[in-house]
């Protein structure tokens, strides 16, 4: 059942992605509403698949701690949910369906990575260090922050494209769909402004968990260190924006760079970290 729901969700996300891209590059206004409904439907089915997986896993013996973001496949699946939810909230508040053409492909890409997990899709056996209520608190909070930075990244991409469209001699429909540059710039700022304290909370919750699990709240493990580096990058963004007064292209590129660091913290570090890494079995 869980697998069926997941595949339905994936196809629905694929349709939503195509619709948003169609909206971006055509004159058909109706595509925006259809795309939004497709995304919403995909999200509902996707969340149902996560719920089904959780129920199935908790029926297994020795899996009382299970949460559906415990391995590579599940974490990318959950990441897709978070990005989509945050985009829909942004869409509700700002009414900018064109941003779906930049955000929803990220959702789809995250699911693609999940599907092609090198470690399979079986329900994992959690090592003892991950059998904690902190798994249900720290990890989702970090993903909420990462998902917001993913949205900021997508808006940053939209900014860069809009700027090029404006400078080009032949702007496409996209140029007329996208809002003004200063509005995009302000939106990136608002999203990062909101997400930065969430990231800080997530890091500190992780420190609390580490204090109970590993004997120290901070051990300069690769995952912890790169989470701090992510925090410093966005700290730099906020200082440059608020104090120095950076606007526009510089801050847009900084938001793109910030998400690159987020991706390294999320994915690359698994090859470096002994405690956090999916590859090392994490937490023994």
């Amino acid at each position: 059942m869980e697998e069926l729901l997941f595949h339905v969700a994936f196809y629905a996300y694929t349709i939503a992605t195509a619709l948003y891209l169609g909206y971006a590059f055509t004159k058909r206004e109706s595509l925006a509403a259809v795309a939004r409904w497709a995304l919403f439907l995909a999200l509902v089915v996707h969340v149902a698949s996560l719920g089904a997986r959780t129920i199935e896993a908790r029926r297994l013996p020795q899996h009382g701690w299970y949460v559906p973001w415990s391995n590579w496949y599940e974490s990318f699946s959950f990441f897709a949910v978070v990005i989509a939810v945050e985009y829909l909230i942004l869409q509700y508040r700002r009414h900018l369906p064109i941003l779906g053409a930049f955000v929803v492909p990220l959702v789809w890409a995250s699911l693609l990575v999940a599907i092609n997990s090198p470690f399979g899709r079986a329900i994992p056996n959690l090592p003892p260090a991950l059998q904690s209520y902190w798994m249900a608190i720290h990890v989702p909070v970090m993903f909420v922050a990462y998902g917001a930075f993913a949205n900021a990244f997508a808006i940053g991409l939209a900014y860069v494209m809009q700027e090029r469209q404006i400078k080009s001699r032949k702007p496409t429909h996209l140029a007329f769909r996208l809002p003004p540059l200063d509005e995009l710039d302000n939106l990136i700022y608002r999203v990062i402004w909101w997400a930065f304290p969430v990231l800080t909370l997530g890091i500190l919750l992780g420190a609390r968990w580490a204090y109970d699990a590993w004997g120290r709240y901070w051990g300069w493990d690769a995952k912890e260190t790169w989470a701090l580096i992510t925090w410093l990058v966005y700290l730099i963004y906020l200082h440059m924006r608020i104090v120095v007064g950076w606007r526009g292209r510089k801050t847009a590129y900084l938001s793109l760079a910030g998400f690159a660091v987020v991706l390294f913290t999320y994915i690359g570090v698994n090859y470096l970290s002994e405690l956090h890494g999916f590859l090392s079995g994490g937490g023994r």
Binding site: N125, S132, Y189, W193, L204, R208, G215, I229
Partner: protein, 480 residues
């Protein structure tokens, strides 16, 4: 409180003793940004180099020159080098120099602005306001004043002043109110908290300790930092069904101080034992190089071996003796066996085959590879041999529990700093200070309302909110 007082004292000393031109670079945003970048780059270096002592294999691979450079440069111990600690200390100093010096003056200026009577002309009353508007209503000045007060109360504003405007020919009244005043402390709180957090880390690094006690089953280990003895009464391990992956491991430990029992508890991962601030964690487990017993399996029978005990094979002159257990048998470059890690990746047993009481052969048998066997030659090297008509079916190793012991007197300072950091962030980022000033002027048959507002929100984001305020006020007098 002690830490906050210390921070305030340091700030006060800095302002009094250091010349302003010395502090000026630290107050530059450019310096701050470069400091953050430097810390980020320095921290990232430690993630690409293995931290701690180079293993002999890694040292061989790198060669003596590179190994020496890496060791001496501190790249193998980045986070505990003086230069990295200096960077973090510089960050704390920078926050103090940058923020704490400004805040007392800023707080006093704010208080003056809020409470002092303004002896300004009407034109200056809205000085610095990010939004301004004016409108007229068909209502008396008293009625409008009443509605303005009602609107301010309904919007949750705190009235700062309500008075006649001085020096005016027309009757005019000035109202000043604000909301979320606490937000203005958010910036200060979060910056001080960073210093407190770093101070907690420093206290822990200077006065704390950490140790790993690998204690075999029914064994004990000493904790020299406290003079305690830690005994492992029992060690349990459970596995996920049909796998070799542990699902739980737990230790029943007793802690003795000079033979007096101070604590006894079953500790599992994520549930440490705390004895007067010294915390005992179930960190890891593994196999020692000892074993309880092992089973040798023959075609139609089996033998149980215990360490060092000669066990005859019934009906023959052959006997067997199990000597050594290796959790993860390996072979070095010279062909000598090595015991390997305690993880038990390749458990193996060294078995003597005795013929009429004399050792006829010394073998290494691998539990997970019954088709493989190795002979030990006279020099102790391993050489592969044809598999004998028996193999090791099972080995019951003596396990050890890895108990991590740590004491961090700075931890409570770190947690307090963390809580206030989150409070400061929430105040600064999720609340927005708003101040509004209204002048209600009797203009004969109409009443004129001028409104100006200040906010910590950006002008772009504040404009729709301010417009909403103006519309709300207008609707109070003209609902249509």
């Amino acid at each position: 409180m002690l830490v906050l007082a210390a921070v305030a004292l340091v700030s006060h000393v800095l302002r009094r003793t250091l010349p302003p031109r010395f502090l000026r670079p630290f107050r530059s945003v450019r310096f701050n940004i470069w400091l953050f970048v430097t810390i980020a780059v320095a921290a990232s270096i430690g993630t690409f180099f293995p931290q701690g002592t180079l293993t002999p294999e890694a040292a061989d691979r790198l060669g003596p020159f590179l190994s020496s450079i890496l060791s001496k440069s501190g790249l193998l111990n980045v986070y505990h080098t003086p230069w990295f600690a200096a960077l973090l200390g510089l960050m704390a100093f920078d926050v103090i120099a940058c923020k704490l010096d400004k805040w007392p003056r800023r707080a006093r200026a704010d208080a003056r602005l809020q409470t002092a009577s303004l002896n300004l002309g009407k034109a200056d009353v809205f000085h610095g306001a990010v939004q301004q508007a004016r409108f007229s209503v068909n209502a008396s000045c008293e009625k409008v004043s009443e509605e303005v007060m009602g609107w301010l109360a309904g919007r949750g504003f705190r009235l700062l002043e309500s008075r006649p405007l001085t020096g005016d020919k027309q009757e005019a009244r000035l109202y000043t109110a604000d909301r979320h005043r606490l937000q203005r402390w958010g910036d200060f709180i979060l910056h001080v908290s960073i210093v407190v957090v770093l101070t907690g880390g420093l206290i822990g690094a200077m006065f704390g300790f950490s140790d790993m006690l690998p204690i075999p089953e029914k064994g004990a280990a000493d904790l020299p930092q406290r003079g305690w003895r830690v005994e492992l009464e029992n060690f349990d391990i459970e596995y996920y069904r049909n796998t070799g992956e542990p699902s739980l491991y737990a230790s029943e430990v007793s802690v003795y101080d000079d033979q007096a029992l101070v604590a006894k508890q079953r500790i599992i991962v994520n549930e440490p034992l705390d004895v007067g601030g010294v915390r005992f964690y179930q960190a890891t487990w593994g196999m020692t190089q000892e074993f309880h017993s092992a089973q040798l399996r023959f075609r139609a029978s089996s033998l149980t071996l215990e360490p060092g005990r000669v066990v005859p094979f019934p009906g023959t002159s052959v006997a067997f003796r199990a000597n050594v257990f290796a959790p993860s048998l390996g072979v070095d470059d010279h062909g000598f066996p090595v015991a390997g890690s305690s993880a038990g990746g390749n458990p193996a047993l060294q078995v003597d085959v005795l013929e009429r009481g004399e050792v006829a052969g010394r073998l290494w048998l691998l539990q997970h590879h019954p088709d493989l066997a190795f002979r030990l030659d006279t020099e102790g090297r391993l050489s592969r041999m044809d598999p004998p008509p028996f193999h090791v079916a099972s080995i019951e190793p003596v396990l050890f529990s890895g108990i991590q012991v740590s004491y961090d007197p700075g931890a409570s300072v770190f947690w307090v700093g963390s809580v206030f950091l989150l409070i400061g962030l929430a105040l600064h980022f999720y609340f927005h200070y708003r101040r509004v000033r209204l002048i209600v002027t009797d203009a004969g048959s109409k009443t004129e309302v001028k409104i100006g507002a200040w906010s910590s929100r950006s002008a772009v984001d504040f404009h729709p909110e301010f417009t909403g305020w103006v519309n709300e006020l207008q609707r109070r007098f003209d609902p249509f």
